[in-house]
């Protein structure tokens, strides 16, 4: 963008201002948008381009060595998958060897990955056994796949829960009743509270021995139920984060649903009443269709937000136990910042961005097709 100012031709302001492309408007227009454009180019567009560029290099945050192009190596490191079949160990007679517990014995994965150049650098992601073979799914960075799996798992659990909670709350308080504004503010209060603080307070609730949930479970079951180690057990850690996140965020979607509900004409409900429709019918055939666009927006926005899961994990579990809560963002930050491997951190970022775009697009297409 350039500012063309030919002073010699400057005419009186009045005349100029009315012209369709007056020089004054053009000059001020560019002047007033320049700071925003500069900052957006600098701190939003440049990093987006840098992410692509750096994903093809071995860039480090701080390094004495020059940065080199490495082609697709980072992508290979993130995405490389392979399957290794391990035949059961057999004795000289050809019988399958069994250990003391009666389990079939298989050679260790490492003996294969060390020997075979093709499998160099691969580590176990997942494995299953049949009678005489152990099949191992291996990846160069198993945590990368695990982090995507965890992020999807979080989104699949939190989006339906949070959206349902928000819709329920909106329907509950969408009435001309005394005190409705008070209740609305109370349901909304967790949203304004920082996620760091919320995570810390809930860490206390989730604490295995002293925590509120387990103490309640113990007291109300007369000592029969021993609560789980919410954040310390891979089976519960992500679910705990889901419950807390839905509680924290539902207030926003509640407000959006409320605005959507207010957009549905009262006449429709009255007409339905006259036709003898009951509450469920009204909800099914007036409220839900009336909220369609709101619903689509809320689901897409909540999904994208869910994919950014980072703070709760950083504060409550640090990705553990055994990487059961490591999300894509957490993995990217650990690689990019903690381990200073910018090239690889950027690669994760690029794949992450691509996945988000695809999901948002798919959701939009799905809802549009369903609408026909």
């Amino acid at each position: 963008m350039t500012l063309s100012t030919t002073q010699a031709q400057a005419a009186p302001i009045k005349k100029n201002y009315r012209g369709p492309m007056s020089r004054l408007q053009s000059r001020y227009g560019l002047l007033m948008i320049a700071p925003a454009v500069f900052f957006l180019l600098m701190f939003l567009v440049t990093p987006t381009l840098m992410a692509f560029y750096m994903s093809f290099t071995n860039q480090r945050l701080i390094s004495p060595n020059p940065t080199e192009f490495v082609g697709l190596r980072n992508y290979d490191r993130a995405l490389a998958l392979s399957v290794i079949r391990l035949p059961a160990e057999r004795d000289e007679q050809g019988n399958i060897q069994v250990d003391d517990d009666g389990n079939t014995e298989f050679p260790r994965l490492r003996t294969v990955t060390r020997k075979d150049e093709k499998y160099k650098g691969f580590r176990e992601l997942y494995s299953w056994e049949s009678d005489d073979t152990k099949t191992v799914l291996v990846a160069k960075d198993p945590i990368f796949y695990k982090s995507f799996y965890n992020t999807f798992r979080f989104a699949f659990m939190v989006v339906p829960l949070q959206v349902a909670m928000a819709l329920g709350l909106a329907l509950l308080i969408n009435r001309q009743m005394k005190g409705v504004n008070f209740f609305r503010s109370v349901y909304f209060a967790p949203v304004v509270t920082s996620m760091v603080v919320v995570s810390i307070v809930w860490s206390f609730f989730f604490n295995k021995d002293m925590g509120l949930f387990n103490r309640y479970l113990e007291v109300f079951s007369f000592g029969l139920i021993e609560g789980p180690n919410w954040l310390g057990d891979p089976a519960y850690a992500m679910k705990s984060i889901v419950i807390m996140s839905a509680w924290q965020g539902a207030g926003v979607q509640m407000l959006i649903f409320l605005a959507g509900l207010q957009g549905i004409s009262k006449d429709l409900y009255e007409a339905a009443s006259i036709d003898g429709a009951n509450g469920w019918h009204k909800f099914r055939f007036i409220t839900l269709p009336g909220l369609r666009n709101t619903f689509v927006f809320v689901v897409i926005a909540t999904t994208i937000a869910a994919f950014g899961l980072y703070t709760q994990v950083a504060v409550m579990t640090a990705g553990g136990p055994v990487d059961s809560t490591t999300t894509v963002m957490y993995h990217a930050v650990r690689k990019g910042q903690t381990e200073q491997d910018m090239g690889y951190g950027s690669t994760i970022t690029v794949i992450y961005f691509a996945v988000i775009l695809i999901i948002a697009l798919l959701q939009k297409l799905y809802f549009e097709r369903k609408g026909d």
Binding site: M1, I13, P20, M21, S22, Q25, S26, G29, L31, M32, I33, P35, A36, L40, F43, P47, T48, M50, A51, M54, L61, I62, L169, L172, R175, M177, G179, F183, F188, V192, T193, S194, M195, V196, V197, I200, V201, F204, M210, R215, W247, G251, V252, L255, L258, A259, S273, N293, F297, A301, F307, T311, M329, A332, V333, G336, M342, S346, T349, L357
Partner: protein, 297 residues
């Protein structure tokens, strides 16, 4: 006929509705009330009160020991001050830059503005998480001129500073769009009259449009204030030293290094106070801001 039927059901239904609303209010308010009340109690009292309504009431021997310990153990004043500076400057500069840009696109005519508008709207889809890591690389290499001990010093990086937490977030595509929508709907007659009186567009903006746009400025301020004060990912990436640490990083570190829950609750309360004060004071505005901005995606 059906109307009377509904009326007959009403008292019972209303009562049930209130019961559900109160129950849910307890669930939504409990963690926050528990946090505030526990910060004034000993750890023993906190555990003892946990099983009854006492958990969310200011009862028993209340004390300030937890707060005294927090101030003794942590440099919380500095972190709080840092957060205030970061939030204030970022919000103020952001309002100026973004509203000016929106004015330029909504009310002035210049070549290429359609393109710029489309470009800014398409930037809305880039989540911050997707650029956090490369942005860290960028600010790590940016130079900065600082004033230290009476002379100008060139610093080779933005890391561990306050400005790294202020400047990158100033321009915000979403805020520009918010202002744009509002400015677009103001009748054009106003600026034309001002122009005839010889006012420059900048003057028109400052003394005519801005005073008329209270609601959108309030919305933008609230959203930006919340995002800034509660920001965690960006400061954790860019600040290691204490000197530029904001309160969110401060409390997270306190939480990982301390085991006394009373003190942790006191720290949490102090961190949350500014937000609660603003929230309670501008409740209606908050709700309107966040509800109104949602549907436009």
């Amino acid at each position: 006929m059906i109307e009377t039927n509904v009326d007959a059901m009403r008292p019972y239904k209303t009562l049930l509705r209130y019961a559900v609303m109160i129950f849910l209010a307890y669930i939504f308010a409990f963690p926050l009330l528990f946090m505030v009340m526990s910060s004034f109690k000993t750890e023993n009292a906190m555990f003892a009160d946990m099983y009854s309504l006492r958990a969310v009431l200011p009862v028993g021997d209340l004390m300030l020991d937890n707060y005294q310990n927090v101030f003794r153990k942590s440099n919380i004043e500095l972190f709080f001050f840092n957060s205030v500076i970061i939030t204030t400057l970022n919000v103020l500069l952001g309002l100026i830059v973004n509203s000016m840009a929106a004015f330029s696109m909504a009310r002035l005519k210049w070549k290429g503005q359609e393109f710029v508008l489309i470009a800014i709207v398409s930037l809305l889809i880039v989540p911050f998480e997707a650029i956090a890591i490369p942005l860290l690389m960028l600010v790590a290499k940016l130079p900065w001129i600082a004033f230290e001990g009476g002379e100008l010093v060139v610093q080779s990086s933005w890391l561990n500073t306050l400005h790294v937490q202020i400047i990158p977030g100033i321009a915000n595509a979403f805020q520009i769009f918010l202002f744009y929508q509002f400015f677009r709907d103001i009748p054009k007659d106003f600026d034309e009259a001002a122009a005839i009186d010889g006012a420059s567009p900048l003057r028109t903006f400052w003394s005519l449009i801005v005073p008329m746009s209270g609601p959108v400025f309030a919305t933008a301020t609230i959203l930006a204030f919340l995002a800034n004060w509660n920001n965690y990912l960006w400061p954790i990436l860019t600040t290691q030293s204490e000197s530029a640490r904001p309160i969110m990083v401060g409390i997270q570190m306190f939480f990982s290094n301390n085991t006394d829950w009373g003190e942790i609750m006191a720290y949490s309360t102090l961190t949350t106070i500014p937000v609660f004060i603003v929230f309670i004071a501008f409740q209606k505005k908050f709700v309107a801001s966040l509800a109104g901005t949602g549907i436009k995606g």
